[in-house]
Symmetry: C2
Subunit: 340 residues, 2 copies
């Protein structure tokens, strides 16, 4: 590999001191360098291909150009659906005006947040966006006052978040399912991998049904694992447990893809025999056979809003609001059998 | 926002000089600091929550902990299919043992590669992985000797690449299509967004057909835009141009999802009326109706191998090979109508 050219080498080549090189390269006006010397240094730098050290420049500026995106999910799940790519796209839209870059970092356990704190406090990153809240009420105090934006709600006025209003999305979906007047209802959920988010969506689902006196049998809640394979297997299991199931809510579209494949391959008509609804509106959902009724979560906007909020924190501007909720949209297609 | 604690503040708190703080925090043995002083500094650092500056530490070490992933694609395409997420997953698998992090950066034009060179030469990143080759034969010389790994082939012994052997994949697919004995053949391609890669795949496709004296009418090559919407529209257009088309090759699975939806919605049987084959084997392809015949490209392995090669370059170890090709796999499912 090529060696990095140093300021010392430029100084030697130009016949000046390293300090003079530093003054010229950093445009230090008060240094009072003659134009002839300045040209000598610039020529030497050009000859040798010298680039001032980025780390040294960041250090002088006192701020990193990087923001950290901390993914708090099991490895296999991170890119299993387009959630994280969408978030990255959104964050990039927001931060590119300020020429920030995204450092992607995975957090495997709550203990790993030490890494994030060290990176923030040491100035390796200017701010952080975290996909989940894995801190207990005591731990979270250590994060107060730091430029951190969570992508899920945190019930603490000292913390910042931009989150999709999942409960509102689930409520819209439940109300739609109730309107379909189909019973019994089945749910394909996934293990509490991203913990509170999924648990709270399932709780909202149950509560909203209960409010309308619609029952949901515990045995009709089957656990998948967020990808199509698991949706396929979960649908098979659900039909064993409850052969007359009439409407199934898959907690993400990826599992709905698998559930639909199982039904199609076994000659079970969708929506005539079983109505199917998903959650996320991934890119393929409108092109399934039949197209999938689902809830569209504004994931790119989520990334954008989080990036914007983080920039205000990094720039020490007080944000308008510490807590921002983004609305969802119910997308009705053929799979639920509703007249559209 | 909290202020970052400085070494000066720790020095004042401990009643020692900033240099002593630096010696203690960096474990400089030859500094000959007494144990009592060392403890005073460590206690002061703990009291104030001082973390040595990461940039300063990187500077001392002379190497960045970051590697840059340069995405050379139009913005909308980057996360339209799982290619980039898969690459990131693979790179992370390879580099996490050395505690490197990934900096994701988009390159919008060949001119933008200046940014990459500056980041490399200034030590902001320790190495780079680039998704495409956008350098002409003259420009590429400026990259010689730098720790850069391309994810597409570069016909230059001075450059490093790990690439999927797309031509081999296309050949397997063409041979399979010829075996199906269905004519005429249609192709849904996409604009030369990632340039050479797609152009060369189409050229290989044509050549291989020609070698077997199978014709491909130019009018039966229709341009999509890599996402399902475009596949849907392209299939409609292709049927207008050639109503008796019998087998269609979609140059990615995402477009095949849309093409299949068009056929399903218009009562055109797949594979009975039209056989369909894709390319990529994305997560949903096995769960379409019917499941899609396609070519599986080992994208996660691609990221892993590129990460491993880059680490050898960063560590100045001569790699076994400068150019690595990874094989593809033909995945035969129902959509092509082949007996399986």
């Amino acid at each position: 590999m090529k060696k990095v050219v140093t300021a010392q080498q430029v100084a030697k080549h130009a016949g000046v001191s390293p300090t003079t090189v530093s003054f010229v390269m950093n445009n230090v006006e008060k240094a009072n360098i003659s134009e002839a010397t300045r040209q000598k240094v610039l020529n030497a730098a050009a000859d040798l291909g010298y680039v001032p050290h980025a780390l040294a420049k960041s250090l002088a500026k006192g701020r990193s150009n990087n923001i950290g995106l901390f993914l708090i999910q099991p490895h296999e799940q991170i890119f299993a659906d387009p959630y994280i790519p969408n978030i990255i796209t959104g964050i990039r839209n927001a931060i590119q005006v300020d020429q920030f870059r995204i450092l992607v970092e995975q957090v495997r356990s709550p203990q790993d947040t030490e890494t994030m704190l060290t990176m923030l406090k040491s100035g390796e990153i200017a701010g952080a966006i975290v996909t989940h809240n894995i801190w207990g009420q005591d731990n979270i105090k250590s994060l107060y006052g730091l430029p951190i934006v969570s992508l899920v709600p945190i019930d603490d006025d000292n913390m910042y978040f931009v989150a999709i209003n999942q409960n509102e999305g689930v409520k819209k979906l439940v109300d739609h399912i109730i309107d379909l007047k189909r019973m019994p209802i089945g749910v394909i959920t996934y293990a509490p991998l991203d913990g509170d988010n999924i648990k709270s969506r399932l709780m909202t689902f149950r509560k909203r049904l209960a409010q309308s006196d619609v029952s949901l049998d515990q045995k009709n809640i089957v656990e998948g694992a967020y990808h199509p394979e698991s949706g396929y297997a979960a649908m098979e299991l659900l039909l064993t447990k409850c052969p007359d199931i009439s409407v199934v809510y898959c907690m993400n579209d990826m599992m709905a893809v698998g559930a639909l494949a199982y039904l199609n391959q076994n000659g079970i008509g969708v929506p005539d025999d079983i109505a199917l609804v998903g959650y996320d509106d991934i890119r393929v959902s409108a092109y399934l056979n039949p197209p999938l009724t689902t809830v569209r979560a504004p994931e790119i906007t989520l990334g954008e809003s989080a990036g914007e909020l983080l920039l205000t924190l990094i720039n020490n501007t007080p944000p308008d609001r510490n807590h921002i909720y983004l609305p969802t949209e119910l997308i009705i297609r053929q799979s639920c059998g509703s007249k559209i």
